[in-house]
Symmetry: D2
Subunit: 341 residues, 4 copies
């Protein structure tokens, strides 16, 4: 909180009361009496003023509004660290010149299918395998994932094809088992403000891929990253995956402007997931291209050898042939923005 706007009818006594409160916190007040409003500029280390204190001031007599100038996140901000964060995962750098592609099925279904998909995405140029062993599903009657068995298959893929593993953590109690197999731990969109899970992720040594919540503002998303970082884990990768809007032609609305906005606000790398963003496989290729053109550091794409039989999200999965074609078409776009893929 840096600026306090007083009501037109605020009294001198109310003003003095507010100034006194600020001074009791070691802050100074710079008072501007305008023709229609009096404004107090708060001087000092306002970053120590908590949200609670801000809200408390908001309800003081004579106060019309409180405006905060400083961003509520610190470790995640460019002010704190100007240089881009580059995260090395098994020799692959996320946040460097190369745009990294994470590909694979939505859920791990069985070993044969997973191995088969892994071979294809590796061949097409992906650098990471993705696949859920613990699946957040909107229905309790849907397939919930294979659990540790699925994680083992992912580890088999890493061993055989050299692809580091990205997989989701849904429950703090699963941290140990996930950390045993994963190279990057994913926090899903529906858990972006599951603060206990974020704190747990903050104690891990593994990089965290933090998906944007369906209705999370960019500020809230960075605050979620701050939760993880505040516990010591600074390797956070942000993943834009579409926000909820009134439009129903697509499953979500992929907010690609989040990429350049984040590039200004934070040093953390940004990955785009067009598969969840649009929810239809036939729109994935144009949106993947657009994401690269907008400056994304990576892509996360669902690929399945047989979408018709997929146990999860088949309608948004690319077939290996379409994925290979896309990877080829992305090359000149990456080059056009000074990157490689």
């Amino acid at each position: 909180m840096d600026i306090i706007v007083l009501n037109p009818g605020a009294t001198e006594k109310e003003l003095r009361h507010i100034v006194k409160k600020l001074e009791s916190r070691g802050l100074k007040a710079n008072i501007s009496k305008g023709t229609e409003r009096t404004i107090i500029g708060v001087i000092g280390d306002t970053s120590k003023i908590t949200e609670e204190e801000e809200n408390a001031i908001r309800v003081m007599h004579g106060v019309e509004d409180v405006m905060r100038i400083l961003k509520p996140y610190k470790l995640a901000s460019r002010d704190f660290k100007a240089k881009d964060t580059a995260i090395n995962v098994g020799g692959q750098i996320i946040g460097g010149k190369k745009i990294q592609v994470i590909a694979g099925p939505c859920a791990v279904e069985n070993k044969t299918i997973l191995m088969n998909i892994a071979e294809k995405v590796k061949d097409a140029g992906a650098s990471f395998i993705r696949g859920g062993a613990f699946k957040p599903r909107t229905s309790p009657y849907s397939f919930q994932g294979l659990g540790e068995e699925g994680l083992k298959y992912l580890a088999d893929v890493r061993k055989k094809w050299g692809l580091p593993v990205v997989t989701e953590l849904m429950d703090p109690r699963d941290m140990e088992v996930i950390a045993k197999y994963a190279d990057i731990i994913q926090i899903g969109a529906r858990n972006m403000q599951n603060f206990r899970l974020l704190l747990e992720a903050g104690t891990s040594k593994k990089p965290i891929l933090l998906k944007r919540g369906l209705s999370a503002t960019i500020k809230e998303w960075l605050m979620a990253a701050e939760y993880i970082m505040s516990k010591g884990n600074h390797n956070v990768i942000l993943c834009e995956r579409g926000i909820r809007t009134f439009e129903t032609a697509t499953r979500n609305t992929l907010d690609l402007s989040a990429v350049p906005v984040l590039k200004k606000l934070t040093h953390l790398p940004i990955v785009v997931d067009p598969s969840h963003g649009v929810g239809r496989w036939d729109l994935v290729a144009p949106m993947a291209k657009a994401a690269v053109a907008a400056g994304a550091d990576g892509l996360m794409i669902e690929v399945h050898t047989n979408p018709e039989e997929a146990l999860s999200d088949g309608e948004q999965s690319l077939r290996p042939g379409d994925f290979k074609k896309l990877m080829k078409e992305l090359k000149p776009i990456a080059a056009a923005v000074g990157r490689e893929i």
Copy 2:
């Protein structure tokens, strides 16, 4: 999935392939060939068709769209149980003729303040005390709650004032300690799709107050209730607390139409939280009145003896005097809709 719409150019072969797939699941296909589209009506127990199978059909050759007729939730639906669910909590019925009022501070701060608030809300006519011991906060630097100490103070309130306790569960690992002290366990808006937490809540013997997620549709909300109920706990209370929209004049947009919509779709009781819904104490009274007029079974209202010093959400808390006045004003409105308060 009950209706499959084919592409204008779908072939006979594709049609036969789809019909065969349905028959392999024990379903029958009723084919309507219209002038512009062919439609397949799926006959049989389609409730056993999972979301995965629906999506798999959606990507089959020749398919333009799949429309589901049946609701994806069962236990939560009026079809399953026509009669209103009434939940008895320490002698107070939620979902009966009496509109129940849950009041108290956002967070439990210390014993003195809590006891003081409890006395006032009891005196004004509230039947339940609310207060968070574990607090979900958007900033890791904000007050996170007193933990078990806070729960003990809530138990002290119950003992002294006879008010059953409503408090939030944020982490499955806290279930034991929360269940020890709470009469109703709250699942917060940001955890509405924390599916593991829902499953944990489903195994509890305590009623669950399930807040609507910020961007949750009513259907998704009922699916979250279904998660809890699918584990055997049928005592779910739904709590409307505002959804996220483009409007910034209020913290959220309180969706009161959800009350009559839910009354048609489900047998579960519905409580409205105008404090979070609008986020400004000066709008709480009119919206509480509107909630009662719209048919809510209960209200959840933040009350604090000193909002200026509250450690959380002070700007939306009523002072005891305003709360008492509101309780009095609600009486004739409750009577007008055939209820009491």
Copy 3:
């Protein structure tokens, strides 16, 4: 524009350049140098700073953000006029103690049906007849209204039943004919920012019922009222009719919190249209009750003797019997909030 926040790296030269620009507009700058940001408080008659000038300052070197303290609307604000505006239409006061009910069909279809509906709503206690002669329809192939013929039927209703007429203006070229028959001229939601139409309405002697746009913030809505008032017509009635959100269970999301918010910001009367707000007749009664409880000055309700045969919006029209029942049930709620109906 009242506060200018500088970049952390803003130079003294940039600061002087900004101050000079302000002084060239006859304003003074009060500079607060904080530890992390420098803030300029702008002193003087900032209401004369246009949006253009505000935006121009926003892109000056050294500027991080510009915050406007004063509301952009004047004539519509409580600051300008503290007392509630009460509008007398044919002896009926909108904005007084009595909650006024405007009822009738969505569109005027023919004289017999209209007369029949008018008799019923009059009998049930409505004070105004509504009905569209010029209809905004999302499809060019839908019924577009009877035009002047429809207006004549409305005038017949006024003559026979003494109900003043509310009807919509869609095109500035229709102003003359509409003004000839209407007592209150409606501007529809889709035309809320049809600025030429607003200016035209501002030159009329007739009160204007201004519906909220589907995605209009309350601030934008008041700016639209300001457009009308700036031309001399101060008799503007605001009508909340639902906003567009992600929820699809209702046609729109009726934002009842807009009622108490507006009561603080403006002196203009506020009417609620639950029929369009929810789009389903079976939700109209609870939402009408909630609107009265929330403090609305009036209701606008669609009534049709035969919704099955209505040429427009039949699915949201009450039958006369249900409307009569609702009118009766509203009485004690109106009384509970110190009003009558």
Copy 4:
């Protein structure tokens, strides 16, 4: 309307009544009796069933829901015309291989500035000049445009620099004067459902650039195009310019997925306006690149020689140097998607 879903409790009599109603419209009913619901497939030319009739059926006894299979727009759909529409404007093809760039100031301010900007954008490779002579402004106190004088300056640009003119029509009464000077007539976002203006545009011989409304679904947008086309003007260019969401980091949320969605649904060309889409000049370049990568047929970009002094939207205007750099950077991206610029 093609499918009617009956209530679980619908009677035989109700079913017969519905079937009779359909038959009275020359349609046939194919009845599927499932285990939980009965469904009626409507066979015949259902495109002649109006929205009114659909809604009327929705409120018939025994009906639970009505689902429309066919799209409500015809002339705008790919079903009606499979081949891309290419529009020739003064020798420049919109909707062909070349991605067309429309550039210029938000508003025409005076001749010198406009001529200067025109020279720069022409030099950088733009093919069209844009500039508003009649400006829709949210405040009645803002600059409203130069009117016909501004149009004349635009014509001067065309004459001197050979750039066809794109300018906005706000009022049907201005059609004659706008058509006299414009090569492409723009309908702004706030007028997308100003149906009278759309009909007026439909009678023009000039191509219409139809901006998407702030909260318009893609379906509603195509219905607006249908309004224009239904009057005989088939030269409609769609312009995505951002939708309103909860995110406030950008002025709007640019929905680039609309581009590939529209490519499937319609034959009309699609232009993207990143300037309004994000509202900040520093995000325009990455979003322009993303738009080209996503498959847009054109770009509309605000350019101003002196954004600090612009009378409108200075904060989102590129300086000529930045625009020239962008045009150069777009070339390889256009090439990568098989286009040129």
